[in-house]
C-alpha cells in the first residue's frame, strides 16, 4: 500500500493518510471499480511507461505475448462485462503468481497409482 501511494498518482489521492497508517483497516479503504481501473489506468499504474494506449497497441501487434516494455507481462480481460481491463505483472509478481498457482496444483494432485 505504501508502494501504491508512493508511485501511483491515483492511489496517492485515494489512500491519503491511510497509506502510512500501520494500523490501517483494509475494509475502511475505498474500493476500485472496473470502470475506474479502465478510465484512470494511466494514473493507477506505478510505472509511467505503462500507458493504456501504448499497451493496447502492443497487445494488438504481432508481439503481444512478449514483455512490454521489456519487463511487464500484459494481460487483458475478455470484456464480457463490456469493459476491457488491463493488468501488467512485473517479473517478480508474475513469478509469485505462477508459484502460488503451481502450489495449488500440486495440492490437487491425486496420489500416484500403487505400483503393481
Amino acid at each position: 500500500m505504501r508502494h501504491a501511494a508512493d508511485a501511483s498518482p491515483y492511489y496517492r489521492e485515494a489512500l491519503g493518510a491511510a497509506a502510512t497508517d500501520p494500523d490501517v483497516d483494509l475494509t475502511a479503504l475505498p474500493t476500485l471499480s472496473k470502470e475506474t481501473l479502465v478510465e484512470r489506468f494511466d494514473a493507477i499504474v506505478t510505472d509511467p511507461r505503462l500507458r493504456r494506449a501504448d499497451i493496447e497497441a502492443h497487445l494488438a501487434g504481432p508481439h503481444a505475448a512478449e514483455p512490454y516494455p521489456g519487463e511487464y507481462r500484459l494481460l487483458s480481460t475478455s470484456g464480457t462485462s463490456g469493459l476491457r481491463g488491463l493488468v501488467a505483472y512485473d517479473r517478480a509478481d508474475m513469478a509469485l503468481g505462477i508459484a502460488v498457482s503451481l502450489g495449488a496444483m500440486v495440492r490437487q494432485a491425486s496420489p500416484p497409482p500403487p505400483a503393481s
Binding site: A4, T31, L50, V87, L96, G97, S101, A109
Partner: protein, 320 residues
C-alpha cells in the same frame, strides 16, 4: 477460439500430460474422447476453471481417468483466487497471493453460507498495477469452519460466476422476472442424455440447442422441455415495470417460439462440430438477454465444514 477436439486428441496423445487444466466443458468433451477410445492419456491432476463443475462433468472425468477434478477460481486480475482439492470440495482461498472479501450489494461482508453479490480482491503481487479492494461481480459463498486437512486458508463453498449473468424475462402477469443463467441451465445440467446445450436469443425468442448422446431415451426432448418450463415458471420474484429493460419490452411484442421436437436420430457421435447439433427449441415465454451457456450449470456444492469429499459423482436425474 476452441481447438477442434480431434486436434486436441492428437496433441495430447503425443504429449501425455500429467495435468489437464482448462474449461470444465472442454474437459468433459475430452473425457468422452477417452471413454470412446480415441484419447489415451493418464493425467494425475485435473483442474477446471472459468465455469462451474457439475455432477455430470465430475462423473464423466472420473469415469475416464479415475481422478477427481479440482475447481479453480481465477481471474485476470489475480492468477489464482481459490481452488479445491481431492480432499476437500470447498475451495481454499489463495491467501498467499490475494486478500479476498465477499460482500453484499451494500459492500458489507456476508456470513458463511450466504452468497455475496460481489468480491473485493486485493492482489498482493501486482505492484505495477496496484489492485486494492478491486470489485468483481462474482457470486461466491464463504464456507464455515476450517480445512478438514489442516490447511490454514479461509474457504469458499461455492463459486457461481458473474452476478451480471442474470436474464430478465417478462413475467406472465406483467413486469419481469430475474432468472440467473445457471437456474436456466439447471434442468439440463445433470441429465446424462444431454451432451451439450446452448441457449440463444434470436428474433423468434429464446431458443435452445441440445446435443444428445447416442442412445438417448426417446422422450428426452419433451421431458427437458417440461422441466425447463417448470424452472421458468418458478423463477424469481416478479419485479416492477420500473426495471423493465428494452429487451423485455421488445420480447413481449412477439410470442415465444413453438416447441418443435426434432427426431432424436440426428445425433453427434464424434467430436462436436458446429452445426452437428440436434436442435430443440424450448417454448420459453420470451427472449433472453444473452447466450447463457458459460455459467449455466450449477456447481458441485461443498458442504460447509465437510470432513471429506462431499460432492456426489452420481448424476441427479431429471424429475419424471
Amino acid at each position: 477460439m476452441l481447438t477442434p477436439p480431434s486436434e486436441m486428441v492428437v496433441a495430447l496423445n503425443a504429449y501425455q500430460p500429467e495435468a489437464l487444466v482448462g474449461y470444465p466443458t472442454v474437459a468433459a468433451l475430452l473425457a468422452d474422447e477417452q471413454l470412446e477410445g480415441r484419447l489415451e492419456v493418464a493425467p494425475r491432476i485435473l483442474a477446471f476453471g472459468s465455469g462451474p463443475v457439475t455432477d455430470d462433468i465430475v462423473r464423466r472425468v472420473v469415469a475416464a481417468w479415475g481422478v477427481r477434478p479440482a475447481n479453480v477460481y481465477a481471474t485476470t486480475e489475480a492468477p489464482i483466487v481459490a481452488n479445491s482439492s481431492p480432499e476437500d470440495p470447498c475451495l481454499d482461498v489463495a491467501e498467499d497471493l490475494v486478500v479476498l472479501e465477499v460482500v453484499d450489494a451494500d459492500g458489507r461482508p456476508v456470513p458463511p453460507g450466504t452468497p455475496g453479490e460481489r468480491v473485493l480482491i486485493t492482489n498482493l503481487a501486482s505492484r505495477a498495477v496496484p489492485l486494492i479492494r478491486y470489485e468483481i461481480g462474482d457470486v461466491v459463498t464463504p464456507a464455515a469452519g476450517a480445512s478438514p486437512v489442516g490447511r490454514p486458508y479461509r474457504r469458499l463453498s461455492r463459486v457461481d460466476g458473474r452476478s451480471a449473468d442474470v436474464l430478465r424475462l417478462p413475467a406472465p402477469g406483467g413486469g419481469e422476472v430475474a432468472v440467473p443463467d445457471f437456474a436456466l441451465g439447471r434442468p439440463l445440467a445433470n441429465v446424462p442424455d444431454v451432451r451439450q446445450f446452448q441457449f440463444r436469443d434470436d428474433d423468434s425468442g429464446l431458443g435452445l440447442d441440445i446435443v444428445l448422446r447416442p442412445g438417448a431415451s426417446a422422450g428426452i426432448t419433451e421431458s427437458l422441455r417440461a422441466a425447463l418450463v417448470r424452472e421458468l415458471e418458478s423463477a424469481g420474484d416478479p419485479t416492477t415495470g420500473a426495471r423493465r429493460g428494452r429487451r423485455a419490452d421488445r420480447a413481449r411484442e412477439r410470442p415465444g417460439r413453438e416447441a418443435q421436437a426434432l427426431p432424436g436420430a440426428a445425433l453427434s457421435t464424434g467430436p462436436i462440430r458446429r452445426g452437428s447439433s440436434a436442435a430443440a427449441a424450448a417454448d420459453a415465454p420470451a427472449a433472453a438477454t444473452r447466450t447463457a451457456n458459460r455459467a449455466a450449470n450449477p456447481p458441485v456444492p461443498c458442504a460447509a465444514g465437510a470432513s471429506g469429499p462431499a460432492s456426489s459423482a452420481v448424476p441427479a436425474m431429471l424429475p419424471a
